[in-house]
């Protein structure tokens, strides 16, 4: 049974240590995910917030995110791999580009969902445009915005696995190495570890999103809990 052997492969402490051990690969995978997310967020969040705030260019976001969904991730990875060579630059670029639509949509939808009368009132009592964004729209948009970050993170984790096809990096390496040498325990074991990593991140980010959602959209429940304690 391949599955049993896969778990045996995972359980073997000899596979965890060293520079190409499971532990090091997990760190690599998370690191590349984090860097790509950071770079994509630096581009997408300000743009999404600005479009949500001004309402200008909303149609572009719809068309943009829709068209992006059709682009095969493997296509971007292989194309950049050919053009930029075998290294980390090609997959990183692909990961950043693929994460942008979710982040953009999250930031835009979050700001867009804020009741315009609330933002209008904030302006009317004398908040500057920057204050309306940072003190009113962003806090109220946070749950939806975090949803975009959650989607982008999982997209990156999944695509980073594929990225091992063009660069020797991350957990995907076990899958491709196993595939090539018909080492199925390694291949399936690697797959199980990636799935576990993705599910843990999903649950973690879902919990963060839930907590923030409660803080922002139903602050009253927090107040009730607070008054019970004090």
């Amino acid at each position: 049974m391949n599955l049993v052997e896969a778990f045996r492969w995972i359980a073997d402490p000899g596979n965890w240590g060293g520079t190409s051990g499971i532990a090091a690969r997990i760190v690599e995978h998370l690191w590349v995910t984090f860097l790509s997310l950071l770079a994509a967020a630096a581009v997408a969040l300000p743009v999404g917030v600005l479009i949500g705030h001004t309402g200008r260019g909303a149609g572009v976001i719809g068309a943009f995110t829709g068209a992006f969904r059709a682009i095969p991730t493997l296509g971007l990875l292989t194309l950049f791999g050919l053009l930029l060579g075998i290294g980390l630059a090609a997959p990183m670029l692909a990961l950043v580009i693929l994460a942008i639509p979710s982040l953009l949509a999250g930031a835009y939808s979050g700001i867009h969902s804020v009741d315009p009368t609330i933002a209008g009132a904030a302006r009317a009592i004398g908040m500057s445009p920057a204050q309306v964004i940072t003190r009113v729209e962003l806090p109220l948009a946070l749950p939806v915005l975090i949803g975009g970050i959650r989607a982008a993170t999982l997209q990156i984790v999944a695509t980073a696995t594929l990225a091992a096809y063009t660069a020797d990096y991350g957990l995907g390496r076990y899958l491709f190495a196993g595939l090539k040498t018909r080492d199925y325990p390694q291949m399936i074991g690697g797959a199980i570890i990636v799935i576990a990593l993705a599910l843990i991140l999903e649950l973690l980010l879902a919990a963060v999103q839930r907590t923030i959602d409660q803080r922002v959209t139903r602050p009253s429940t927090r107040e009730k809990l607070g008054s019970r304690h004090g």
């Binding site: 009368t117 209008g120 009132a121 009317a124 009592i125 004398g126 500057s128 009253s220 107040e223």
Partner: protein, 270 residues
């Protein structure tokens, strides 16, 4: 004192909201703009704090053209109360009330320290300070809105249908509260409503608007009720409505005022 000097507003796209409107709102008085939707009343109100800029004409505050003022600074110097309060749902009542003083640079601690007095002034239990707007009734939220507008002690209050979203009994309470406050504070109030009874209750002076800021009549409530300028004002004020047609009737030696449907509405004092 607020002055509208022949202001017009044409929105991009060509729809005309206001045509050549002029008005003086004297200091320490309450002027009510009353009209139905499309009368341009809200546009006029929003010109005072530059939420809307006129396409022609000027708005002056104490003789100064506000076009030369920074809009953000201007808004912080004017109290603004709008329908349903326009409170920030994610901030506590205290934070909402202290918003403008903090924007004006007052230390947060000091601004929050003034909150209980402001709440008491508008008839709110200061115990609500740590609650969120969602936990308050519509009428209470409206009081918070008034407290927020008063927090930085502005000379001018703009009120945009502030009591439109609450039920009639609460609306009456809030109107009484506003009259009491105004007697105490003597602000310059520009008040917008579509409800003529509210205008009669609150206004020192009333401006009845037709469409596009066209003035049908201006005057005290007494003047408007006694001598409606035309058919439009007569209809709007409801001079012909049964409750405005009072006759006197003798009952057991007392004189009652009775409306057009024969329902008693009051007793004539000796």
């Amino acid at each position: 004192m607020i002055e509208f000097d022949a202001v017009s507003k044409i929105y991009p796209g060509g729809s005309e909201a206001v045509r050549e409107f002029s008005l003086r709102v004297p200091s320490h008085r309450t002027v009510v703009l009353v009209g139905s939707s499309g009368s341009g009343k809200t546009t006029l109100l929003r010109m005072v704090n530059r939420m809307v800029d006129p396409t022609a004409g000027r708005v002056l505050i104490d003789g100064e053209d506000i076009q030369s003022r920074d809009p953000v600074q201007l808004r912080r110097s004017i109290g603004y109360v709008l329908q349903q309060g326009g409170l920030l749902p994610h901030r506590t009542i205290a934070d909402n009330i202290a918003t403008v003083p903090i924007l004006n640079g007052m230390p947060r601690k000091q601004a929050l320290a003034e909150v209980p007095a402001l709440m008491a002034r508008v008839g709110l239990d200061p115990g609500f300070a740590r609650r969120y707007p969602g936990q308050l009734s519509g009428g209470q939220q409206q009081r918070v809105g008034v407290a927020r507008a008063l927090a930085s002690d502005p000379n001018i209050l703009l009120m945009d249908e502030p009591f439109g979203a609450v039920d009639p009994i609460v609306r009456r309470e809030l109107q009484d509260e506003l009259l009491r406050l105004q007697a105490e504070l003597g602000k310059t109030i520009l008040f917008v409503t579509h409800d003529i009874d509210e205008a009669f209750r609150l206004g020192d002076e009333i401006v009845v608007l037709k469409e596009k800021g066209l003035v049908a009549q201006r005057g005290t409530p007494q003047q408007i009720l006694a001598a409606p300028a035309d058919e439009f004002v007569r209809d709007f004020v409801g001079v012909g409505r049964a409750e405005r047609q009072l006759v006197l009737e003798e009952v057991d030696g007392r004189t009652l005022a009775v409306d057009g449907d024969g329902r008693p509405v009051g007793i004539l004092r000796a």
